[in-house]
């Protein structure tokens, strides 16, 4: 996943984890996420977060602080959530939430840093095939939506920054509604154009 500039959120890199199949890694990620939700002790979750940090660093290149600065909103969100829990439920519970989120984040980053998006899409498609046979979902379309999500996160971030800068240049302060309305309008227009491009580039065989 590339949320911004460079390697920390970018595409798959060669590492010991890149030799594992995408399906295996996604399955382990799901199992680990479930386990982290079930654990309620800050010490164990803290150790899990540390372990996952180690795994992620072992499969990724040097830390790119410039890329991290562009996703500062993630740190803000985590801080708000943890503060809220700390205020209402105490420090122990706040630490549980913080370490759980960090463990999940590092685990997800490790998978993303070691797996090409097309491989993840193929794994998602294979996992959904039984549901596809029953006619509940179209696995290829769900996999495409999964891939598109990864592709569009940085595009949406850039769009958000463009709108913010355009408004700042006109002296408009950063009010949520002033950002959300143009963001929504541009996102809908972009979705239309993207759908048109997919229509032009692929045919039905790509969705079977």
């Amino acid at each position: 996943m590339n949320w911004g500039v460079d390697s920390d959120f970018s595409s798959a890199q060669a590492s010991w984890l890149s030799h594992w199949s995408a399906g295996t890694k996604l399955l382990i990620l799901v199992v680990m996420a479930s386990t982290f939700v079930l654990i309620n002790h800050p010490l164990w979750l803290g150790l899990s977060a540390l372990f996952m940090l180690g795994v992620w660093r072992s499969v990724n290149g040097p830390v790119n602080w410039q890329a991290w600065r562009r996703v500062i909103w993630l740190a803000v969100t985590v801080t708000v959530v943890v503060s809220y829990v700390g205020f209402f439920s105490g420090v122990d519970q706040a630490l549980v939430v913080l370490f759980r989120l960090l463990a999940l984040l590092f685990a997800a980053l490790a998978v993303v840093a070691s797996t090409p998006v097309t491989d993840m899409m193929a794994a998602v498609q294979a996992a959904l095939t039984p549901l596809g046979r029953w006619g509940w979902v179209n696995p290829a379309k769900v996999a495409l939506a999964f891939g598109l999500t990864l592709r569009l996160i940085p595009v949406m971030l850039e769009q958000w920054q463009e709108i913010r800068q355009a408004q700042a240049a006109r002296g408009i302060s950063a009010a949520p509604h002033a950002l959300l309305v143009p963001m929504l309008a541009r996102t809908i227009r972009r979705a239309d154009e993207l759908a048109e491009a997919i229509d032009a580039r692929a045919d039905s065989a790509d969705f079977r």
Partner: protein
């Protein structure tokens, strides 16, 4: 490849965008110019069925676009103005593979095609690059490479130089000049049409002038000054 418009009318949101259009396009390089909102993009989108005419018929190489859409789209590739809205996947070669499955079911053959197209455009070093690390010019070339992967007979390019600096504009023009495919280009960049075979001027849903580049561009410039 012959592109034919027969009595084509297109209405969108109650507005007539194209009216009674009759055209036969066979030339190797065709340019379409006109002011914003004249109907250029709509005309181009009829060629590969992104829009459906309200009346009339569009044929590409004898194929009815409405009735034989899949066959038409295998022959016609579209390059959009904004590459960020055309590129679907986060890495160059992954994006180029999109849409190839139907044409090349074998994964190794798909990869070979991708490598061959990237090499032909002197972009082999970009194969594993994340899209977000590319400049606007590189993204536009990746869009073009994705289109060429399908080995279309006709390329439709919607304002391909609109977001390019001079260096990438010149590079794109050189690539276009060397391509064996027929190309139909919608543009405001009049200079890029100088070596084309035919230029159409579209205005308010009609082709109001149809001539060689020098004649059509001079006519269009006079009209814009009037």
């Amino acid at each position: 490849m012959l592109i034919e418009f027969e009595d084509v009318t297109l209405e969108r949101s109650g507005r007539t965008v194209l009216k009674d259009l009759n055209l036969s396009l066979l030339e190797h390089r065709i340019g379409i110019i006109g002011v914003n909102g004249a109907g250029k993009s709509s005309l181009a989108r009829l060629i590969n069925g992104l829009l459906t005419p309200t009346a009339g018929q569009v044929r590409v190489d004898g194929l009815d676009v409405q009735l034989q859409l899949t066959a038409v789209r295998q022959q016609v590739a579209f390059v959009f103005q904004n590459p960020d809205n055309q590129i679907v996947f986060p890495v160059v070669d992954e994006d180029m593979a999109f849409g190839l499955k139907a044409i090349l079911p074998d994964k190794a053959a798909r990869q070979a095609r991708i490598e061959s197209v990237l090499e032909s455009l002197e972009m082999a070093d970009l194969a594993k690059r994340p899209i977000q690390q590319l400049s606007g010019g590189q993204k536009q070339l990746v869009s073009l490479a994705g289109a060429l992967c399908r080995e279309p007979k006709l390329l439709v390019l919607d304002e391909p130089t609109a977001q390019l600096d001079l260096r990438y504009r010149n590079r794109l023009l050189q690539i276009l000049a060397d391509l064996p495919q027929q190309a139909l280009v919608l543009t405001h960049d009049l200079a890029m049409l100088s070596e084309f075979d035919r230029v159409l001027v579209v205005d308010r849903g009609h082709v109001v002038h149809d001539a060689t580049p020098a004649v059509a561009i001079a006519w269009y410039e006079r009209r814009c000054q009037a």
